[in-house]
Amino acid sequence: MSVTDTPAAVARHEIKTVTTDLSLNDHLDHFLARFACNRMGHKVTPGLYAVGLPADDSPVFVTANYTLSFDALRKNLSNLNCYILVLDTKGVNVWCAAGEGTFGTDELVRRVEAASLYDLVNHKKLILPQLGAPGIVAHEVKKRTGFKVLYGPVRACDIAEYMKTGTATEEMRRVRFPFYDRLILTPVELVLVLPYVFIVAAVLYFVAGPVPAFSAVAAVLAGAFLTPVLLPLIPFRDFSAKGFFVGVLVAVPFALLALLADCCSHLWVKIGWATAYLLLIPAVSAFLALNFTGSTTFTSMSGVKREIFKYTRVMAYMFGTGLLLMIFLIVSGAFLR
């Protein structure tokens, strides 16, 4: 992040200035954040920042102190002279911080007072991201600070248009979850489980061969990559059902490979391995797909609770049975040769 001392009139308030250009370091930080490296370390120092040369009538934007949130905002403020008030959300994004309450009324009031906004601007307006609304009581902010909370658009890329018209259209107010947004969320899901999967795959490789080893990786890719990426194309509403569906599609080739293996194995061995694949891969895929609910902005708590009660028992039975079957096949030396 490019932070410099400002030469403007705001200097007496010791306000740092930030540019709207993202540096190579910023992009590297974003990349690392996307891959869950130093997960809670992507922070901006909370407080007030100046963009350009703000005057006393310049708008004040509010955001979280997560670098991805802060940078998404500032890169969309080019050609604007304004302030950014950064709340201390412990390095968590606006949406999650609003849910946790750190992007909240008390913190906002505290930051407004700490930054002496009353002295700095001649208006009483704060522009907040719409997705911060679950943590903010706008009428209480007004009562306690005199500042009116204006909710800007969901996406920072719409800020320029919002500033031109002074209003967010219905389209700007709707949260979307397009292909690219789903795709960039998958590395975090994968990075957290892949180390364990590689251990399982390595063990399977040595005790059962390359195909069972690859099936472990395929199961994870089905639930943590394919299901999120193809989400709207997969039938069923529940994430678990979507994960089961993709898991079965991925498991079928493994099952066919086992059944059609050109070898001297007994038929029961072939059927055993095929059954194990058909039980294990969909169970793992469904569980990972269920976990992806936390990455979206359209699953409700009561809906996810219903889904957990409805599917996790089935997943557990399938996984347990499949695992026991695979262990039995391995221990009894019943490999596909």
Binding site: C96, V175, G294, M301, G303, V304
Partner: protein, 100 residues
């Protein structure tokens, strides 16, 4: 007196009699659950509510109620295992950090 509006898909409750038609719920809802009405706001996409609680927080009256929380399976499973209040965001991950 208008009926209280509920839906089987979620916990959002709307009491039209308490609505002052300020439009804040329309402004903050990311799923266009609400739409402007002549006298009060209308609930037009009730099943799309994902219980974020933004409308309730910003409603100046008691027209809206919801059991707010995040639809995150990981957080809810952690809560079931470890107990405690409803989680706001994901529970501890495998690295012992919080999500996001």
């Amino acid at each position: 007196m208008s009926d209280i509006v509920t839906h089987e898909d979620n916990t959002l409750v709307y009491r039209p009699d308490d609505c002052v038609n300020c439009g804040m719920c329309i402004e903050v809802c990311p799923h266009a659950v609400f739409a402007p009405g002549e006298r009060v706001v209308n609930v037009v996409r009730h099943s799309s509510c994902m219980e974020c609680g933004a409308c309730v927080m910003n409603c100046p009256t008691t027209a809206l109620a919801v059991e707010a929380g995040v639809g995150c399976a990981e957080a809810l499973i952690w809560q079931a295992i470890k107990g405690g209040d409803a989680p706001a965001c994901c529970g501890p991950s495998v690295k012992g950090e919080t999500c996001c």
